[in-house]
């Protein structure tokens, strides 16, 4: 028993030691904690992503003097993509730093969003997870503090099918076609299934779902199966190492790469370069198109890259898909703060004000041109009932050296998907005893 008491005493000592409270005069600075993963299995994509975010925040601070004069104080915390560590980072930072409040929290990963969704609703901190997150949280009446911005999983499925229909020359041509979805067996991989099932029923195509078990570095068995099915189209929903392996194996089994459509997270340089020549002609959904020829890129070159201030270790990745993911996410946050400043005044915002700002985030083409994101970011209109606010993607094609954007924005079929999202969010509301807000609660 003595050991036991000693251990308890040790807790008390440790627990009380680290208590420090610093409440200074509130500075005119917005605190932005960033849970990142520069080490671990997904570090290669993460590193570019954070570089994009940080370069844009730095550009706003240095070239534009902050967002309406409010400087951004961003701070990185390593998580190794582990949701457990992200929870710790969230708890550590949710109350701000030295009087600088937190207006939103980037989760940088779907599992982390799931782990935080209930806490954030209690703490009133908006969770921002563009092109990811919990799909039904697009219904802001039930999930006031979760924002699967830009392009949720159902929209990914819908745009994928819409693009196939466009290629075939109309939705009526889909009838009787075989569309195989090859997905990584994980939460992310399965999230689109209800949407594709619904679309299959509507358009009359055959929906075949085949899973690749994590991490997916050997896939011969699956692609042999795909070969036997002889599909008209393959929708590839893999991530990480499983994507290049899938493309290579598919081509080896004689499935034309031009009939494989990759999802967002299977459409970066890291996904196609290892696949070599097999990936030439491969197309993928791009809510974040790759490339360094957008207007913002010139501004960044002048203000950040030419001064050697970029967070990129190697500037040849400037314009890579993951770098652009970081740019777009940072721009969404900056625009939301800007919207908030117009309403609350030019000062740092807290979580509740941050939610108001994101719920009134409206970016039209004129504004996109002004901030230099025309073509890189789609027009955004977030409301209480629609926390996604976008729902479109362009299609980009790999030519063996770089990605080329080949279409304009293709919109998801929101009218069809909304009842599905509503049903799921209603189920959540019932389980958790939440009374949904009225759609006009914030007007």
């Amino acid at each position: 028993m003595r050991h036991f008491l000693m251990a308890t005493a040790a807790f008390a000592a440790i627990a009380t030691a680290g208590l420090a409270a610093g409440a200074e005069a509130a500075p005119n600075t917005q605190y932005i904690p960033l849970p990142t993963y520069r080490v671990g299995p997904y570090a290669s994509s993460g590193t570019l992503w954070w570089a994009g975010e940080i370069d844009y925040f730095r550009y706003i601070n240095e070239a534009e003097g902050g967002v309406d004069g409010v400087k951004l104080d961003y701070q990185e915390f390593e998580t190794g993509w582990s949701p457990d560590r992200t929870v710790e980072v969230y708890e550590r930072t949710k109350n701000g730093k030295n009087g600088e409040p937190v207006a939103f929290f980037f989760t940088h990963g779907t599992p982390a969003t799931y782990a935080l969704i209930d806490r954030a609703a209690v703490d009133k901190i908006p969770l921002i997870d563009p092109a990811g997150g919990r799909t039904e949280s697009a219904d802001g009446t039930v999930f006031p503090y979760a924002f699967p911005l830009l392009f949720d999983y159902y929209s990914q499925a819908s745009v994928g099918i819409n693009f196939i229909a466009q290629k075939e020359g109309g939705f009526d041509k889909l009838k009787g076609q075989k569309i195989v979805t090859v997905y990584l067996d994980s939460a992310y991989g399965r999230e689109t299934q209800p949407a594709i099932a619904l679309l299959a029923k509507k358009y009359g195509f055959q929906n075949i779902q085949l899973s690749v078990s994590d991490p997916g570095s050997e896939q011969s068995a699956i692609w042999r199966q795909v070969r036997e099915i002889r599909p008209d189209w393959v929708f590839l929903r893999t991530w990480g190492v499983s994507t290049p392996v899938a493309i290579k194996t598919a081509v080896r089994f004689g499935i034309p790469v031009k009939h494989i459509i990759g999802d967002v997270w299977a459409g970066s340089e890291a996904d196609v370069i290892p696949a070599g020549s097999a990936a030439i002609g491969y197309e993928a959904l791009a809510p974040y198109p790759g490339g360094a020829n957008f207007a913002i890129d010139d501004r960044l070159r002048k203000a950040i890259l030419d001064k050697n201030e970029s967070n990129l270790a190697d500037t040849k990745f400037f314009g890579a898909v993951y770098y652009n993911i970081g740019l777009v996410n940072a721009a969404l946050a900056v625009e939301a703060l800007h919207v908030g400043h117009k309403h609350f005044g030019n000062r740092p915002l807290n979580g509740e004000e941050g939610r108001w700002a994101f719920e009134h985030l409206h970016i039209d083409n004129a504004r996109l041109a002004q901030i230099g994101f025309l073509g890189l970011l789609q027009p955004i209109n977030v409301t209480v009932t629609d926390h996604e606010g976008g729902g479109a993607a362009r299609i980009q094609q790999w030519d063996g050296k770089q990605w080329h954007v080949v279409t304009d924005w293709i919109q998801a079929d929101h009218a069809l998907l909304e009842p599905l999202i509503k049903a799921k969010s209603a189920e959540y509301a019932k389980e958790h005893g939440i009374t949904p807000r009225a759609a006009d609660a914030e007007d």
């Binding site: 080490v39 708890e91 939460a187």
Partner: protein, 316 residues
């Protein structure tokens, strides 16, 4: 103690530390006391979490503490099932066979949607965490729930180890042939060790999922978790109850401490990626140092220090 510390310390430092100490206790009973090596800890934690989730959501009105205990019992059953190979094999071969438990449960809870109530992303969370007016979803509530559960668990284990069962386990660990010769039914006690160990691991898994994370999926209980629990008992001390706490503090708090130091001291001077990798190197180096300097764990190091201090002025 909760009166003095912030929610941050309660919710994300003390709770996971206590939970991992309980998981360490589970494995320590099996490995440190009964001498059976296992790498299936994560799998049994998953069983506990998913069982508790299913009991609490499918049986209306079942109070959380009861669901927790039943979840632990189901995990114990799973442990008994996977202890069957221990009749024939031991040592490294048993460790490999315990890996099947890890991979089987990871596969099961991923592939069969019934276990996570057909949720779209395969995650589980308890909507209602209140019992008798205490809401366990708050930092304080979850801390008390964890503290009481872990204290009871250690009290139970302490008594078990001081009784006949504990002595028999130690006999099996030290030499199973000799134990059999003096009339101990070795196989039966090995199975019991697996069962009791999995019971504690299962409860730890459920606490990890619901008291700490709030929402969990099978990824929270992967092979890394099994290794983490194994490291806790190796570093803390095999065959020591306090060692579980020490190991859990070491594994969980040292990375946080290193992170805080590097954030405070070096932030802005060195590249973030570089800093993170240095942290990993330091952490790994410390593990290597302690394992070489004190193979019996930090608990033993403290014990011998204390013995030395006690006789210090009059050593001869």
């Amino acid at each position: 103690m909760p009166a003095f510390v912030s929610d941050y310390w309660l919710g994300v430092v003390l709770v996971p530390m206590l939970v991992l100490a309980l998981a360490g206790l589970g494995l320590n009973l099996l490995t440190g006391y009964a001498g059976q090596i296992s790498l299936g800890s994560g799998g049994f934690m998953a069983v506990g979490a998913f069982a508790t989730f299913n009991l609490a959501t499918r049986i209306p009105g079942l109070p959380l503490p009861l669901a927790l205990i039943l979840g632990g019992l189901i995990a114990a059953l799973a442990g008994v099932l996977f202890s069957l190979p221990s009749a024939r094999i031991k040592g490294f071969y048993l460790m490999v066979s315990s890996l099947t438990a890890q991979f089987f449960f990871e596969w099961l809870f991923q592939q069969v949607p019934w276990f996570y109530n057909n949720a779209s992303a395969g995650t589980i969370s308890l909507p209602n965490m209140s019992v008798l007016g205490i809401n366990f979803a708050t930092a304080r509530g979850s801390y008390y729930l964890t503290l009481v559960t872990v204290t009871l668990g250690f009290w139970l284990a302490y008594n078990l180890l001081r009784g006949n069962t504990g002595r028999v386990w130690t006999a099996i660990r030290d030499m199973d042939t000799a134990a059999a010769v003096i009339g101990i039914r070795v196989y039966r006690y090995k199975v019991l060790a697996f069962g009791v160990s999995s019971f504690f691991l299962g409860i730890a898994g459920a606490l990890w999922a619901f008291a700490y994370l709030g929402t969990a999926s099978v990824q929270s209980f992967d092979l890394d978790r099994s290794f983490q629990v194994l490291f806790i008992i190796i570093i803390g001390g095999m065959g020591s109850l306090a060692g579980n706490f020490i190991g859990s503090i070491f594994i969980l708090l040292l990375p946080l401490l290193l992170d805080r130091i590097s954030q405070g001291v070096f932030s802005g001077h060195l590249g973030e990626g570089f800093l993170q990798n240095v942290e990993k190197v330091i952490f790994g180096g410390l593990i290597a140092f302690f394992v070489i300097k004190e193979p019996d764990g930090i608990a033993n190091l403290i014990q011998s220090l204390r013995d030395r201090v006690r006789v210090w002025p009059l050593r001869f």
